[in-house]
């Protein structure tokens, strides 16, 4: 028995994890979420933009594989922006992002009855990684002369007065890779000094803590937990909050297996 507990077939673990994730999602369980300091900072910054009737640049730097983690974050951010009448300009720095960005912009824009070109604009994808960020800081029209459908920026009411990154009141990057640490901060925030924050996958979040401490980032949404906290602040619980119950259960299952394994390990050592 002890040996069995020490060497449980991984397929049994997989079954438990599957059930632990699926059942809470099917049962639609919502656990209360307490927002943390870094998420509240992002919320407060958006609120400040709303009070100043400002404009925000939303950068989509994630792909299809991280859609389940990042798309709820994008929805929560956009719901906040549109509910407070914040103007949003969206750009993509990853080639897989445009399909996801279009979908969420249209979905949330329709939900709040927002008008394209006046309340939000989607400028599509440009290759170049950090070079695009650098270009946006030097001359925004150089980087994005048209929107995703070929309309020149000067013809869109929202983007007529945008010349550089400094013309945005806040820049937020949704990142699943290197974009915050290696593109936006060295080539954007450090050079042009605009308020900047980001959302990232949970595994990347610790990588970005130094930038929070150095105040190069105003705040950070880390993974599905960050998205769920933001949904709580916005007052609209959705997939991220639902996902937290599944994630909680999965973590409990992992901890339980770890404890079983250690219990068996110590018992076997005693013998």
């Amino acid at each position: 028995m002890i040996q069995w507990l020490m060497n449980i077939d991984r397929r049994i673990i997989f079954v438990f994890v599957f059930l632990g994730v699926a059942l809470p999602l099917l049962a639609n369980v919502f656990l209360p979420i307490k927002p943390t300091r870094d998420v509240i900072s992002v919320y407060d910054q958006f609120e400040k933009v709303a009070e100043d009737e400002g404009i925000v640049l939303l950068s989509f730097s994630y792909g299809a594989s991280t859609e389940p983690e990042m798309q709820p974050m994008a929805r929560a951010i956009l719901r906040h922006c549109f509910s407070r009448n914040i103007k949003v300009v969206a750009v993509c720095l990853w080639p897989e992002a445009p399909g996801l960005a279009r979908k969420v912009l249209e979905e949330i824009g329709d939900e709040f009855g927002k008008t394209y070109g006046e309340d939000y604009a989607f400028l599509g994808f440009k290759p170049g990684n950090f070079a695009v960020v650098l270009n946006m800081g030097q001359d925004f029209r150089d980087a994005f002369p048209q929107d995703n459908w070929g309309t020149p920026l000067e013809e869109l009411a929202l983007t007529q007065d945008i010349r550089t990154l400094r013309d945005f009141d806040f820049v937020f990057d949704l990142a699943a890779g290197d974009s915050i640490e290696f593109w936006w901060i060295p080539y954007g925030q450090e050079k042009y000094g605009f308020p900047f924050a980001g959302g990232c996958t949970a595994v990347m979040a610790p990588d970005l803590f130094p930038f929070l401490q150095s105040k190069q980032m105003v705040g950070l949404l880390g993974g599905l937990a960050g998205a769920a906290e933001y949904e709580t602040l916005v007052g609209r619980q959705d997939k991220a909050t639902a996902g937290m119950s599944a994630q909680s259960m999965a973590h409990l299952i992992i901890v339980a297996f770890i404890l079983f394994g250690n219990m068996a390990f110590f018992l076997s050592r005693r013998r």
């Binding site: 449980i8 991984r10 673990i13 438990f16 994890v17 599957f18 994730v21 656990l31 209360p32 979420i33 307490k34 943390t36 792909g63 299809a64 594989s65 991280t66 859609e67 389940p68 897989e96 399909g99 996801l100 279009r102 979908k103 249209e106 290759p127 170049g128 990684n129 070079a131 695009v132 650098l134 270009n135 030097q138 001359d139 150089d142 995703n148 459908w149 070929g150 949970a202 610790p206 990588d207 803590f209 130094p210 401490q213 937990a225 769920a228 937290m244 119950s245 994630q247 909680s248 999965a250 973590h251 299952i253 992992i254 901890v255 297996f257 770890i258 394994g261 250690n262 390990f265 110590f266």
Partner: protein, 222 residues
Amino acid sequence: MIFLSRTLPVIVALCFGVFGIGIYYVPHAAAQNLERELALWLRVVFAFSYLLGLYSLLNLHWQRIRQRVEGWGYSAMVYVGFGLMMLFVIHNDGKGPFAPQAEGTAAENGYQWLFEYVQVACSSTMFSILAFFIASAAYRTFRARTPEAALLLVAAIVVMLGRVPIGAYISEYVPAAAEWLLNVPNLAAKRGILLGVSLGAIATSLRIIFGIERSYLGGGDE
């Protein structure tokens, strides 16, 4: 030929490397305009690298099909997938490839449908395998064989519970402890590694700029 394949790239690397460093310290408008031009060129190079990547991929799989290597059927699937996506891109909902991207949801737009229900579905499924693998890896390796391993085990449990709502249910100190672990010891280790890696990146960049390192050219050093 040697000049074109070995010497000229090194000269180009030196010139642009020195320019790039100099621009950082020179605020004059002339330097800033040069930086702007370089950034534009860089974007053009990036765009062409996508074409190069596409050619490499198709060529690689064509060779496999041609030589009938084991699993060449999967290489044929690469062409099928590519052809199908290109078909919808060119069709563009009837507007043709030279019109702006057609609007519409996945139900209305074939390209968007393929992206959402094939690409996104497959990619996120592969990513989600990590959840199962981390469970089995954690179970197998988090054994308190030594005091350090025990410390790691406790820290891992605290952080795992502290980062989800269930931790707050267990105790209000669990999320606080998790945050402390992430912001203090974890961040200290991260900074140390970051410093080392950054110094390494500076050293490699210097070697590339001054032509000491040439492995990026392919073919080894001379």
